[in-house]
Symmetry: D2
Subunit: 340 residues, 4 copies
């Protein structure tokens, strides 16, 4: 880390910084300019570093503390020599494919789920999604079918051959979800639920890690590091929109973050246009943009009869609309030399 | 709710809206202007309403859907004829007092906690805070002492007489925390952890509910409604800063939301200046502003030796600084006719 | 507009609203539900409406005021039966083309501009951009060549045949800029400079109207309405990134707003990836996404020698990079049935 | 500045950075850690620095460029040994007073302005505000009385003795405004109108510089530097709310920025609660918080009859409300040892 002192910092204060760095086991390096004195700390200790940074920030004679190393390692680009796919059964996510994961917002009934599953498989989706445990912002909303929903998902997999992605809402649900599903989804509101991240990590299963709707890229990758540090690198990052001042859409889809993340991390990145926009009319255009900007896939909500859906009716595509969208995506993928 | 149709909506489309409203058990009322047709739904059904709103939003001939009723009831101002305090032992939070809750970010050791507890009690704090389970954004950071920390907190209460506020990080921890503490804190990252909210509600204990750092007032009150709908109205709302584009501070403290919340809800609102600013120099000024704007209290981090703290060193006050801050607050409280 | 009263509003207060609506020349329509009384105002008067809305908002017994009509007309989708291109000489912008406008951030010298102009023309750009008046955030930065820069732009047009887009920074500069350029650009920081908008409107020339970096879609279209209401509908909207909490890029490119704007307005929308990202590595991917999501073009910075540029060095493409980007865009455009 | 290279940067790339730094006239200092190489540039040249920073940012082997010096000098705390008031006639703004500036949003008529002016003077305001040139977001809104309004303001000063604050909307209006007013206001939408800033600087008159509603503290102080570098240090900074995701209020008042700005700059900082909240009920509480947090004053809208106001009706105080607010502020000021 680099510590930039205030202009009026005294020699004694410079020495305080140097001692603290040395006591923490780092080497210190002082550079005196005309206007400022700068102290660099050399060496690495992932435990000692954040404490020291925080401590220096609180000193009145310190102007700025600049970390030099990234606060994540296993998921960073520097940790790998080449980008590899995350495999779910015989489906690959990244780096040369565009993998579409589709299905209803919530599992509502056997009939609804089977209709959705068949429709998305026929149109070219490679994985099936569906929520059994729904995090709902109001206590008066539908909360999901729970384990019954998981069983239906497993049945839909048997029927269609599509591996299943579903959300675990708490650390204690991971084992249950892992029993029925193929990929564990960690929702945006849980991106910093560190117990859940660790448990998902320990499970060894592929994890879809949604970006918190007000999380920075750095926080997102640190959350992925929680999963990775429990021994699991099968992580698929998922951009699902961030909260901004603009209210014309539900969330602002941060598509341009995809190439930024791909520079920082070797993990595949997919995009969820359904939750970001909250409107089915935007799902197709955003998917095409996601593909064009280099995303590794998309997570799309499809419902056999959205008007009767128990949640998120406005954003779920009808099977016909999904089919048409997939047709246009395939043509685009060909022009971009991507498999689909 | 009110449904505003697009200019070119047909008579048949108007009828579709009316039928859907009536089938859901509401009355429909059509108003035709020169430029727009508007349909109102009359009646209340907290379950049917959100589904209908979502469904109408997805229709291509609908321009806007405007909810008329608030999505929370028990915590709304309309639910009570007068504002009452939340009581913790013999301490009252709101509406005529300014209650300061203070203590270290994390419980680190018996010595550290006891020193902090005595210092904050002597300076006039009414409740003791301290974290046993720390949600840390990096897996390489200190994660808290767990149950050992809870035991130390209970010991500090015996020693100082101050009731204890501490965080539960998951639904499964509520029972454990309730065994040792007097108030359960739900952290900002857990504001939409609905299982935890419900469990905190069932416990019947006073709850400090922090605002998510990207949550709207409406979402915050809906989260409180989750606690309340489980039968527990002992909720203290806590503003702890929101995420904005400004990076000169860690979070933007949304002080002006205090009078807004007090208009919408009967619950007391306190302010946490330590996490918002991330710097001890701002804690005093923000506390004074919180008192002046009508907050019911503040949650302040105090550490006997911040330079050696295992977390958030920069924002924790030294005991002397806290004492001086409390002295200035008392003078201000007197000029505002508030008890402290 | 619709006025939703508070639950406890009295009959007398309802009458106050009704009288105010009628005195302003509107019809009033009262609807009494079990929980709320709602008053609708029928009729249109673009002058009286905003005053009334603002006045009602200030009344303590009013809960919410909801406008029914959009605050812009001439630029709205409802004002036209079909989408038409904006024409600059024989170049069309929208709705079936993807028009690339390219050139250096600032005009620095004849040599620099000519090299850039030839390079972008040869690679397929249809319009030349370059700044003569630069709005710089620091007084110590390069401020542009002024009229001398405009003359060089005109010379570059003669040489390459490309029509010229350049920024006017104030109402008083419009006439001067119009003398040399083919399209007047209104920068993001001037999106609400209403004198400039009106003057650009009066000029009758095509206008590129950048979105303010913290402006909503509604404010952007209201700004366009300022130009349009001065008699000029030759407006090209340009999304150039919005300010969010994310600091990994300079601005968050709001690509998903493109289909939203196309639903609300008949004006073409282009995208500026250079200013949003601030890094040349993102320009290509964002351009491809812009094309895929349905934008009508892009505004791209190209400099013959970015390392020696007097401004925005990091985001300007080298001619080779631009050429390669255009090649990939053309292939993509073919797969999307768009002309380029 | 400090340049942090990517892990895999070659020796040749390090040399490129060093050469570029030396060619720009700075000294270069290389520090090689185990993981990263860091190059520091020593020396100052306000012109060369931003160009170099921008250029390095664009290099693929550079990870981060960290400026060491602040991009403003004259307005920084380091430029002065002590804080001095800005004087307007015999009124002082800062550092020991809390100066209230009040008056109507827009000058509408002689009668309206005189009534407002007398009321605010009698209640203790020290300066009179009123808009003659109104920046309106819709072309259908009231645009102000222009020079006629300025004449009325000058008449109100003669009548009440209160110096006058009014907005100039463009560089070309500064001379006209300076002829009638005592303080030139630069509005939030013009904070980066650099021609206007420079002209206001040249006028030598006191300037109220509002913070742009999406501007960082650094940009705000750079804007102030534009005024200062034209030879005018009579600058009063004014926080008027920033745009965030929260829609319960018009803008989020960033009160906690006041102590932050006071640490960085010697300029006085006042707060405008009227525009931020858009509701008169919040004006009093926010003013009290502004005083408590250390602001040097407030800018408050007062109208003799807000219900008939031509703009911003909801946020303007009635004279009685203003009087009551001032009474409470004075009591608070006494408890904080501030003059009013």
């Amino acid at each position: 880390m680099i510590v930039i002192l205030r202009r009026d910092a005294s020699e004694e204060q410079v020495r305080r910084i140097v001692s603290a760095i040395e006591e923490a086991g780092f080497g210190a390096h002082v550079s005196r300019g005309e206007q400022r004195t700068i102290v660099g700390a050399i060496g690495t200790s992932p435990e000692a570093r954040p404490i020291l940074i925080e401590r220096f920030k609180g000193l009145p004679f310190v102007d700025k503390v600049v970390p030099v190393l990234k606060p994540y390692k296993l998921v960073s680009m520097e940790a790998k020599t080449q980008r590899e796919p995350v495999r779910v059964g015989d489906v690959s996510v990244g780096p040369d494919t565009f993998t579409v994961i589709a299905g209803p917002c919530a599992v509502e009934s056997e009939e609804q789920l089977m209709a959705a599953a068949r429709a998305v498989r026929d149109a070219g989706a490679r994985l099936l999604r569906g929520g059994a445990f729904k995090p709902r912002t109001s206590p008066y909303d539908f909360q999901g079918l729970g384990e019954e929903g998981l069983k239906l998902l497993a049945a839909a997999r048997r029927e269609t051959g599509l591996p299943v992605v579903t959300e675990a809402r708490a650390a204690g649900q991971v084992e249950l979800v892992a029993r029925y599903a193929d990929v564990i989804q960690v929702g945006a509101r849980n991106m910093q639920n560190f117990d859940l991240l660790k448990e998902a990590g320990r499970s060894g299963m592929p994890v879809v890690l949604k970006r918190g709707f007000a999380s920075t890229v750095e926080e997102w990758l640190k959350a992925a590091e929680h999963v990775a540090s429990a021994g699991n690198l099968n992580i698929i990052l998922c951009e699902r929109g961030i909260r901004t001042y603009e209210q014309a859409v539900r969330f602002t889809q941060d598509l341009a973050i995809v190439p930024v993340v791909r520079e920082l991390s070797h993990l595949p990145v997919i995009v969820d246009p359904s939750h970001a926009s909250g409107r089915r009319g935007l799902v197709g255009p955003v998917c095409r943009a996601a593909l064009a900007i280099g995303a590794d896939g998309a997570l799309v909500e499809v419902h056999p009869n959205p008007d009767g859906a128990l949640c998120d009716a406005a954003q779920q595509l009808r099977p016909k609309q999904f089919e048409e969208m997939m047709r246009r995506l395939r043509r685009l993928a060909a022009a971009l030399d991507r498999e689909m």
